[in-house]
Symmetry: C2
Subunit: 211 residues, 2 copies
């Protein structure tokens, strides 16, 4: 009986302290941990889960991805989804940016806007967190305003070379990683998630593990 | 015992003769039935099923949609997916065309191509058929080559007003429905599906219902 209680308590502690970052990209876990910092009160691990890639608005896609991830992992999860939203195109390509980058390259992303004066865009990184299957899904959208420009800087980091954040004379690709983390859409989203979990993490994770 | 055999036989006959067209659009069932014609040897009904809208190439999206539909319906299903693929954009917007039409309208679809000389496009209608959960998925891609043009004809049927099929001096929207069915991507896909089911339907549906 005592052993069972102890095992149950151990299970509860484990359930309250480990959050699974569902991603196939090990670099992202490192990036997230850097921004969460040493004092972050929960353990974050990563796991690749084969989730369907859905169509829709950035928030909806992140929400559904998080829901599916929580059902697969059966515990607390966080997921990330990135969009590049051209204002002239009503927010598109949005969540489909990776396909447009793949097919059109940096030059093609610029050419898509040839018919419009407005070259402004939003870089959106949406984190979603869920304490477990059936639990509320919390959305943290990091949004950076900027402009689509001809590529400058190292070309290998997705669309970083064609996005110039507002108020900067450099593209994302031209910034050092510390500066980029400080001003980027991803940094903003992770800091929101961090603040939420530092404030409310015990409450939302505790209620998940008591079931 | 005799009753059980009769019930089983009735179940088998039902399973071999009814194909569920999974769509939320009752008009599409009517359109499909018109093209399948009176002599089509299987009954086709329709049902709305809440399926996720997935990202990917047209064939992949139709295949996965059909797989999920067969699992939901637990019987023979067919599904449809439509893409509009701009050649200058490496096939995009493709399966995402409905979002681009919604956000940009007819004029915006033309303006997206302002940066390219090549205004050619493919209208793709992909039917997928599956005899039941876990069964082989058959893909029938109807493809019509054409050009993206400033809108002409009634503007209410999706992107019909901006697509001019090759060899025609009319847009889809300017064609009467009989002519459109004869030359359209949807007509082509349904005729392929029809030919397949007339040839192989008994075999593929029979093997599904015997399990």
């Amino acid at each position: 009986m005592a052993a069972a209680v102890a095992a149950s308590a151990a299970k509860r502690i484990k359930a309250t302290s480990v959050i699974t970052f569902v991603t196939g990209n090990a670099n992202k876990l490192r990036e997230v941990k850097t921004i969460l910092g040493d004092g972050f009160p929960f353990e974050v691990t990563s796991r690749g889960v084969d989730l369907p890639e859905l169509q829709g608005e950035p928030d909806e896609v992140a929400r559904e991805k998080c829901r599916l991830a929580s059902e697969s992992v059966k515990g607390p999860v966080m997921v990330e989804d990135v969009s590049l939203c051209f204002n002239a195109l009503g927010g598109l390509p949005g969540v489909y940016i990776k396909w447009f980058l793949q097919k059109l390259g940096h030059d093609g992303l610029n050419r898509m806007l040839a018919g419009w004066e407005d070259k402004s865009a939003k870089a959106v990184c949406t984190y979603a967190f869920c304490a477990g299957p059936g639990k509320e899904i919390h959305i943290f959208p990091g949004i950076v305003e900027g402009t689509i420009v001809p590529a400058r800087g190292p070309p290998d980091f997705g669309w970083d070379a064609v996005f110039e954040p507002k108020g900067s004379d450099k593209t994302y690709a031209e910034l050092d990683s510390e500066t980029k983390n400080r001003i980027s859409h991803r940094g903003a989203a992770i800091r929101m998630l961090k603040a939420f979990l530092e404030e409310r993490g015990d409450a939302v994770l505790g209620s998940a593990s008591s079931e």
